[in-house]
């Protein structure tokens, strides 16, 4: 999976905002790539462009050789999407969710059934596979959500803050799931605010600020480049730089006004 020169601009004139600018990165097979950054850094916009939900103003994303510009549906078919905010249909059972999303990803009934059996076993859904999702516990819902996201056995997994709002047990489930996907040779793009988690899970990192990729590399490479020991300290530096930039911009605009 490769993002090449991605750029997204919202609004025009004085309302013009560059959410993502000249963003390029690549995720290898069996690699978890942590896309990190403070609020407003451009993570969600990047994910939405990769998913084909937003059209890039410039640049492109290719997944499994398919371009999101020319073949967004083909790109979507190659991606599994997991998010903390993704809900489930209250009146449908986990098994029916798998059946529905299997169809949505274009699988035939036989393939869907085979994948559903496999995932039911992998995520231990059997005990509640035929219960309405409205009556499931948070952990059960989460496992159902994972199974739903990989029903089509995607080559790439996009995880948007999948641990938000979860207790320690839930976080462990997510971590285990992502590790297993990596071990299965999948490319995983992992977005989170929980830096400790990212540090444990990701193989490489991209640190975003104001839509631009400021730092990229393995943890060791980032340590060498920044002189900082962990991601939290690197993040603080990023935020300080951002604050300094804002202050400088304020001074400049005040000077221009006077």
């Amino acid at each position: 999976m490769r993002a090449n020169g991605l750029r997204r601009v919202f609004g025009t004139g004085t309302n013009r905002v560059v959410a993502v600018d000249e963003l390029s990165f690549e995720i290898e097979s069996g690699e978890v790539y942590g896309l990190l950054g403070p609020n407003g850094a451009g993570k969600t916009t990047t994910l939405r462009m990769i998913l084909g939900l937003l059209t890039p103003t410039a640049g492109d994303v290719t997944v499994e050789g398919r371009s999101v510009r020319s073949d967004p549906a083909g790109v979507k078919a190659a991606i599994g999407y997991v998010s903390a905010s993704s809900g489930l249909y209250e009146w449908l059972t986990p098994r029916e969710h798998l059946e529905y999303f299997g169809a949505a990803y274009g699988l035939d009934a036989e393939t869907t059934a085979a994948r559903a059996d496999l995932l039911t076993e992998r995520f231990a859904l059997a005990d509640f596979a035929d219960r309405a999702c409205g009556s499931l516990s948070t952990g059960q819902r989460q496992r159902t959500n994972f199974a739903r996201a990989v029903i089509h056995d995607p080559a790439v997994l996009l995880c948007d803050e999948p641990t938000r709002g979860l207790d320690i047990g839930g976080v462990r489930e997510v971590t285990r799931f992502i590790s297993e996907e990596r071990d299965a040779g999948k490319r995983v793009l992992f977005c989170t605010h929980r830096l400790d988690e990212a540090q444990r899970l990701c193989d490489r990192f991209g640190l975003l600020r104001e839509g631009r990729l400021r730092l990229e590399g393995t943890l060791e490479e980032l340590r060498t480049a920044t002189g900082r020991n962990d991601l939290t300290e690197m993040f603080h530096d990023l935020l300080d730089e951002q604050a300094a930039d804002v202050a400088a911009a304020d001074v400049a605009s005040a000077g221009a006004a006077s």
Binding site: R48, L51, G52, L53, L54, T55, R66, S70, D71, P72, A73, G74, K76, A77, I79, Y81, S83, S85, S86, G87, L88, Y89, E90, W91, L92, E96, E99, Y100, F101, G102, A103, A104, Y105, G106, L107, D108, A109, T112, A132, N145, R148, A149
Partner: protein, 708 residues
């Protein structure tokens, strides 16, 4: 959710099944669907019954009954009032007389039947049955000839079938006759001699059918109930399946799949339509059962069969459910939450109720502009079905208009669904338009364009009624509507979608052979189209045609031929050909074989021509379909629209000219006075010319397409 090249094909069954499971497992749907009607209608029935009883009692107290009787002759009238004890017309009772009304049997000193405060009007007529059937009198009364063997005077009464007032009048007379007999008996018994001959009065009753069906309260109210029922059923699932997706957070996962929006929306639409229809069925059954159980069916339906009412209402209801469910998805698809969806629905329901309320106006009929007013046409059709006055052809027209609007509403619902979840440039119109964009139209574009144009044309031609009956403004208006609907709109549409106008509308010229062939076909084909029309037309359709055109034709004769040719030949020839043999034929031709595309386009061409002067005339379909096939074949063979324009112009022009000079032609002996058919030699000649034209067109080769 974009549809494009490598999007996997999602099977329909699981998609629809999911929407049905989500809808029917929700207890709130079940409550709306089953529990509410089961509780609501018995309660309403009881209230209605109570209301009806109190109304009847109040009516009895307040109203002074009045009846109109008709007799065959003055003697019968005189004898009737004398013998029956009914006060003749104009009798005014004094207060004392009224005070004597009770307990007359006990008052033996002055025994006489009670006298009623009933106004009677009476008259003599030879046409009592007709007056009765027209509702102008309440009862026709006559004396049968006295039979010596039977010691009685037989009174014959004729009442109006299924008419409450007439029935009351008859019962009143029967009661008065019984009282008169009893009085005579009592009087006789009082006389000790017993020599007074008692001539008992007996009566027979027959009934006549009313000339015009009388609409009952139910006929006016049911269409409104229908709207409310369908709204009740469809609203909740529509909100749940659209705004609910957002509120639950399931939309995000859904838009992340390659499933195209149109498939998602159509699956949801199937669920909403099903619930709406089922709700209406349950409501209809519950309301009918309540009417029957409470005994309100007879007085409210006034003799109509409840089963017929249910069947008729249901058929119109399904049509309504299809349109309304699509409109609901348009509205709820915009909402981000249940609350927002409910806020949007209030104006929608009010908007829906306004045209539905048209059914409450007895003078509103399903014709002219009302034919194409959504919802109003459906409720008026329902009323027509209930009254037994619905016209099948008009019914089909309403179906077509509603289907076209449903397609448009669904297109809009697809456009807006999930819009906030994805880039506005990537979904909705863009997704729809992405399928329509390109060098030229495809199947979908042709269908959407037909739907838009059909509605615009129906509205446009219906609006011509506002121009009055004068011929000149109507001709100019008709020409303007034709140019606008078939010319301007498709060109705007084509330009907006980036189609190549020259290719889409086949604007390039044809070879001389093509023009020559079309010229010969234009000279001849109108005769076959005309013969087609009169051969296939039924008596009923002929009557309709006469009704539609009698005054029009007379007015038209006064218009100069050149003026008629401009607005009734040239304008339709140019713009209809541009439209039908342009984007429609090109669009269908993308995936179909040229022959299939020609036939499908000809069906559409024929359907457009059944709208005649704000009415629907199906008799025109076969001949216009036939012409459509010929015109389509010319366009395909020559690769140009212009030979078709030439043939269309000649076809219309020659028909107009023949009509304009009909009397002259008859006088000159060219046309037979007594026959509607064209002379056989003409038809033979036309056959030869048409065959030659077809050969020339067959040899015409299309000019190469313009380069990109």
């Amino acid at each position: 959710m974009n549809g494009n090249t490598s999007a996997p094909r999602a099977p329909w069954r699981p998609l629809i099944l999911k929407e049905f499971r989500e809808t029917f497992r929700d207890s709130r749907t079940v409550v709306t669907l089953v529990v509410m009607p089961l509780l609501l209608y018995p309660l309403l029935g009881l209230l209605l019954r109570q209301f009806a009883v109190s109304q009847v009692l109040t009516q009895a107290r307040i109203d002074r009954p009045s009846y109109i009787f008709a007799f065959e002759n003055v003697d019968d009238q005189r004898d009737f009032f004398r013998l029956s004890g009914i006060d003749p017309p104009g009798t005014v009772l004094t207060e004392e007389e009224l005070a004597e009304q009770t307990d007359w049997l006990g008052d033996t000193e002055d025994a006489r039947p009670p006298r009623d405060e009933v106004d009677i009007q009476a008259g003599v007529t030879d046409n009592a049955k007709l007056l009765l059937a027209n509702g102008e009198i309440d009862l026709a009364i006559a004396f049968a000839e006295t039979n010596a063997d039977v010691p009685s005077r037989r009174i014959l009464m004729i009442e109006l079938e299924n008419d409450a007032r007439s029935r009351q009048a008859r019962r009143y007379v029967e009661r008065k006759l019984a009282e008169a007999n009893l009085y005579a008996t009592v009087e006789a018994l009082e006389r000790t001699t017993g020599r007074v001959a008692i001539l008992p009065l007996v009566s027979d009753t027959t009934a006549v059918k009313p000339l015009e069906a009388k609409s009952t309260l139910v006929v006016y109210v049911i269409p409104l109930i229908l709207v409310l029922m369908t709204i009740t059923g469809a609203v909740y699932p529509a909100i749940d399946l659209t705004a609910g997706e957002r509120e639950r957070g399931t939309l995000e996962a859904l838009v992340a799949t390659p499933l195209p929006t149109w498939k998602v929306v159509l699956a949801k639409y199937a669920a909403v339509v099903t619930v709406a229809t089922l709700t209406a069925i349950v409501n209809l059954i519950a309301s009918t059962a309540t009417l029957l159980a409470t005994g309100l069916a007879a007085p409210l339906l006034q003799g109509s069969s409840p089963l017929a009412l249910v069947g008729g209402t249901l058929s119109a209801l399904v049509v309504f459910a299809f349109l309304f469910s699509a409109v609901l998805l348009c509205v709820t698809g915009r909402a981000k939450s249940f609350k927002e969806a409910q806020a949007y629905l209030i104006p929608l329901v009010l908007t829906a109720l306004a045209p539905a309320a048209v059914s409450l106006f007895p003078e509103a009929t399903l014709s002219g502009p009302l034919l194409v007013v959504p919802l109003a046409n459906v409720v008026l059709l329902t009323r027509g079905i209930l009254e037994g006055s619905a016209d099948l052809t008009t019914g089909y027209f309403v179906l077509l208009t509603t289907a076209a609007l449903t397609v448009l509403a669904l297109a809009y619902a697809i456009r807006i669904f999930g819009r906030d979840a994805v880039d506005s440039k990537q979904t909705g119109w863009s997704e729809l338009l992405a399928g329509l964009r390109g060098d030229g139209p495809g199947n979908t574009a042709a269908v959407v364009l037909l739907a838009v144009t059909f509605v615009s044309y129906a509205v446009g031609s219906g609006s011509l009624a506002f121009l009055g009956t004068a011929i000149t403004p109507r001709l100019i208006g008709g020409g303007a509507v034709t140019a606008l609907v078939f010319g301007y709109l498709p060109i705007v549409y084509a330009r907006g979608l980036g189609w190549r106008l020259a290719d889409t509308f086949r604007l390039r010229g044809a070879s001389p052979l093509g023009y020559a062939g079309a010229f010969l076909l234009g000279l001849s084909m109108w005769m076959f189209a005309y013969e087609f029309l009169i051969a296939l037309i039924t008596d009923e359709q002929e009557e309709q045609l006469t009704r539609l055109f009698t005054s029009f034709e007379e007015q038209l004769l006064a218009v100069p031929l050149a003026f008629k040719l401009l607005f009734l030949a040239l304008t339709p020839a140019v713009f209809e050909e541009l439209f039908f043999r342009g984007p429609i034929l090109s669009g269908f031709g993308k995936k179909m074989s040229p022959t299939a595309a020609v036939f499908v386009t000809a069906i559409a061409f024929g359907l457009f021509h059944v709208v005649v002067r704000g009415d629907v005339f199906w008799g025109r379909f076969p001949s216009t379909f036939f012409l459509g096939v010929v015109l389509g074949a010319i366009a395909v063979r020559t690769g140009s629209v212009w030979p078709g324009v030439l043939m269309h112009l000649l076809n219309n022009g020659l028909l107009l000219a023949a009509s304009h000079y009909k009397e002259d032609l008859k006088e000159a002996g060219v046309l037979a006075v007594e026959s509607e058919h064209l002379p056989a030699p003409w038809l033979f000649g036309a056959g030869v010319v048409a065959a030659l034209g077809a050969v020339l067109v067959g040899f015409a080769k299309p000019r190469p397409a313009t380069k990109k």
